[in-house]
């Protein structure tokens, strides 16, 4: 493979745009691999233990503090990596998959777990295969909490029987099962029925994560996935025309393996990747190539990235994407050479821009098309944030030099003219950040 990873268009389309701090990007053979050290530890076991202890003692301040610290550290690290990666393709992939397997920090416990989710479930698995990534996502405590899996108990399980003796009724919750099928794998037209959703939900009962035990201070396993046989619905299920009569964990395991290499899943993933990296209405030929690569390799994700990198459609100037607020925010900070940012400022900016980090309204994640983001208000907000960021992180270099370094000959004469005529450096750089060339990638 020979790809000019140094090209302005390449970095813009596959990465987060050229950064003033990394003007000389070398040629990289596998730009989808991590470019910089991404190690990060959320201290998950102790974090959960502390949180649950604070919840038990009803210490609201402590709960708030634990959640805020955890999420704040994560946000800074996420932004920091995106700002400092020379190209940012790997980071784009992380954020793509994190949005594909969306959680929402609407729930407080999810806010606590969000950082660990992205750093230990999503990030380490985006260069493996789809099945492994899917398993990591849906067995992480953040997803189990977000889609209520921990509340789902088989109606004919041991646990439900015990509860019934005490006069309590517990049962199925289909939330996670439905979203796995509709959003994570097969897609809404993936050929499954409501009955399949219920059957899959039965199979998934027993999925949980380890909580701290009262009689021990050893938290080392806390937060790990666990299958609880007592919660699991007894008996076989019929899913998409096949009977799964296994006992225990091997039953959901078999179904997940089946759907994770299903042609509908391949098509769904191919379409979303092509939409993200190429165009709102992705070229059918590109989708087809991605789908074939998915099926031929049993969902080897690096194979899909190779297809993207080698598809002329992805670099075709007519296939542009209107940047999401996140995409615009990160690429803009790179233009003016910001290398590090405080979590509070990030949160405030993303809130103003209308895309708080990991806070979509629904499990389908944030939309990835122009019509979702190109609103009058959005443009004004970007102008506002540009002003603020430029004032706060004013680079030393002259605006025209920055414009030329970052955008090269992709910059229109008109933008160059407007930027060079602005009355102050602040005004010039803010205009550059909201220029047509920086609003799209």
């Amino acid at each position: 493979m020979s790809i000019n990873t140094q090209g302005i268009s390449f970095i813009k389309r596959f990465g987060y745009g050229k950064s003033l701090n990394n003007l000389n990007v070398g040629n990289i053979t596998k730009p989808y691999m991590p470019e910089i050290d991404e190690s990060y530890s959320s201290g998950l076991p102790n974090m959960i233990a502390d949180y649950l202890a604070a919840q038990k003692s009803k210490d609201k301040d402590m709960i708030g503090e634990i959640v805020k610290t955890s999420f704040g550290n994560f946000i800074s690290k996420r932004v920091n990596l995106a700002l400092n990666a020379p190209i940012g393709f790997h980071e784009r992939l992380v954020h793509f998959w994190s949005n594909h397997f969306a959680i929402s920090v609407d729930k407080r416990i999810v806010t606590l777990l969000a950082g660990d989710y992205e750093f230990s479930a999503i990030r380490p698995n985006i260069n493996s295969n789809f099945h492994q990534l899917l398993m990591a996502a849906i067995t992480h405590p953040a997803m189990l909490e977000y889609l209520d899996q921990e509340k789902s108990i088989g109606p004919d399980s041991i646990a439900a029987g015990r509860a019934a003796q005490k006069g309590k009724k517990i049962g199925l919750n289909e939330n996670l099962a439905r979203e796995i099928l509709e959003l994570h794998t097969l897609g809404v037209d993936g050929g499954y029925s409501q009955k399949d959703v219920t059957e899959f939900a039965k199979a998934l009962t027993g999925f949980a994560y380890i909580k701290p035990k009262q009689d021990t201070l050893d938290f080392s396993n806390v937060g790990n996935f666990i299958f609880i046989p007592q919660w699991h619905q007894k008996g076989s299920v019929v899913f998409m025309g096949r009977e799964y009569s296994q006992n225990g964990y091997s039953q959901p395991d078999a179904i997940i393996k089946y759907i994770s290499t299903h042609p509908a899943t391949a098509k769904h993933i191919a379409t979303k990747l092509a939409r993200h990296f190429c165009a709102d209405d992705p070229p059918p030929a590109l989708v087809e190539r991605l789908k074939s690569a998915f099926l031929a390799s049993n969902g080897d994700l690096n194979q899909l990235y190779e297809v993207l990198l080698n598809s002329p459609e992805c670099l075709d100037a007519k296939n542009t994407k209107f940047k999401t607020p996140w995409d615009w925010f990160i690429s803009s900070l790179r233009v003016i050479g910001v290398a590090d940012m405080d979590a509070r400022l990030i949160n405030r900016a993303m809130k103003t821009l209308g895309q708080e980090i990991l806070k979509p309204e629904a499990p389908k994640g944030y939309d990835d098309i122009q019509s979702a983001w190109a609103a009058p208000d959005a443009i004004e907000k970007r102008a506002e944030i540009s002003s603020l960021m430029v004032a706060k992180f004013m680079p030393q270099a002259a605006p025209i030099d920055i414009a030329n370094e970052i955008f090269g000959d992709t910059l229109s004469e008109n933008t160059l003219k407007i930027v060079s005529r602005a009355e102050s450096k602040q005004s010039a750089l803010s205009l550059l950040l909201i220029s047509p060339e920086n609003m799209r990638r």
Binding site: E423, S424, S427, L431
Partner: protein
């Protein structure tokens, strides 16, 4: 002209001044004298601010745009002041304001950024060195305390940057884009139908464009005065104003900008109370504008403009102008007001007299790169 946003003011106001200052350690300030530098970013049109009524060519060159008799108030030597400047006009009558015309830095090109950089560094070339003249001034003052200068800005402007420690305010909340930015966005999008239409829609519903610039200007004036009043507060301050780049609709925009500048000065004066008698304010811009109107009811980048020296410590009531006239032959490069006064000569004189240092010494220490040889003296009591 937009200086800061109200959210910032609420923040400062909410904390109370005593809560806001402690991060800056002010031991006994070296002097009770207050010096304020207000930069007009964008090249303010000297001709319409201190208006040469006696010069017939002004009316020819400006045509419809020329200020009418009822838009100005006469001063000395046939000059008049724009009527939006009521407080500053009154200061002139009270002999607390002097205007210096046809003034410029050594810069003779027409880039805002380079020109502002030179005006702030006190240099002969853009980016010639790193420290600004206000920072070097701190080093020149007797018993200088490292934290006695402050920028009313998010970042330290070039004029204050350097080895001597200075402080600055920055807003705790999102800052509204400057007027300059807002007026340029439409042309930025002129070849992009999607963005252009979205922007037009935004403008129809927006409050941003209209904003609360006047309120902001007043509040910034109040805050500046409070800071400079504080017993152990700073004694040197720099304020930034913008929106002076009037390529279009100059009449309206300049009127609004001048009203805000005037309100800013009024609040500083009122807020300083008795300390106003120890205060010197210099207002200056990076360069002037073309003598002639352009085709869009505005003016383009020029050379010489006017500067103002105001304050209770100022020996005012004069317009100082070595006027070359506006006839074609007398214009600089046949288009701009011919520079006859030196910005650094003015600053050397004002600063020297303000702090009791020989102006020549100020010139050598602060403006050596440009070697000003026309020092303007007798401006400060």
């Amino acid at each position: 002209m937009k200086i800061q946003r109200r959210d910032f003011i609420k923040y400062v106001g909410g904390l109370g001044l005593s809560g806001f200052i402690p991060s800056i350690s002010f031991a006994n300030a070296a002097t009770e004298t207050r010096f304020i530098f207000i930069i007009q970013r964008g090249a303010a049109d000297g001709l319409d601010i201190i208006n040469p009524r006696f010069d017939k060519d002004y009316f020819t060159l400006r045509g419809d745009m020329a200020l009418k008799d009822d838009e100005v108030t006469m001063l000395d030597n046939g000059f008049a002041i724009h009527n939006s400047l009521t407080t500053i006009g009154q200061l002139y009558k009270d002999k607390q304001a002097t205007f210096i015309h046809a003034i410029s830095t050594p810069y003779r090109e027409r880039s805002h950024f380079d020109a502002q950089n030179i005006l702030e560094l006190g240099s002969s070339r853009a980016y010639e060195f790193n420290a600004g003249w206000m920072n070097r001034l701190m080093g020149l003052l007797p018993q200088n305390k490292p934290t006695e200068a402050i920028a009313i800005s998010e970042t330290i402007p070039a004029a204050l940057r350097g080895n001597n420690k200075v402080s600055s305010f920055y807003p705790s909340n999102i800052k509204a884009p400057s007027d300059d930015l807002m007026v340029r966005v439409a042309s930025l999008y002129e070849n992009d139908p999607l963005l252009y239409n979205l922007w037009l829609q935004a403008q129809q519903t927006s409050k941003l464009a209209n904003g609360d610039d006047m309120e902001n200007a007043k509040e910034i004036g109040k805050i500046t005065a409070k800071l400079l009043n504080a017993a152990s507060g700073p004694r040197i301050a720099m304020l930034e104003t913008n929106g002076w780049d009037t390529h279009t609709a100059q009449t309206t925009r300049l009127k609004n900008n001048l009203k805000q500048l005037d309100a800013l000065v009024a609040q500083i004066k009122e807020g300083l109370g008795d300390n106003w008698s120890n205060t010197v304010v210099v207002i200056a811009t990076e360069f002037g504008r073309t003598a002639a109107a352009n085709g869009t009811q505005g003016t383009d980048h020029g050379t010489a403009s006017c500067a103002m020296v105001l304050g209770g410590k100022v020996k005012g009531g004069r317009v100082i102008a070595d006027w070359s006239g506006l006839s074609q032959a007398n214009l600089y490069q046949n288009r701009d007001v011919m520079p006859t006064a030196q910005m650094y000569g003015l600053l050397s004189g004002v600063l020297g007299e303000t702090y009791g240092i020989a102006p020549e010494k100020v010139a050598i220490n602060l403006f050596a790169a440009a070697k000003p040889d026309k020092i303007i003296k007798g401006l400060v009591i």
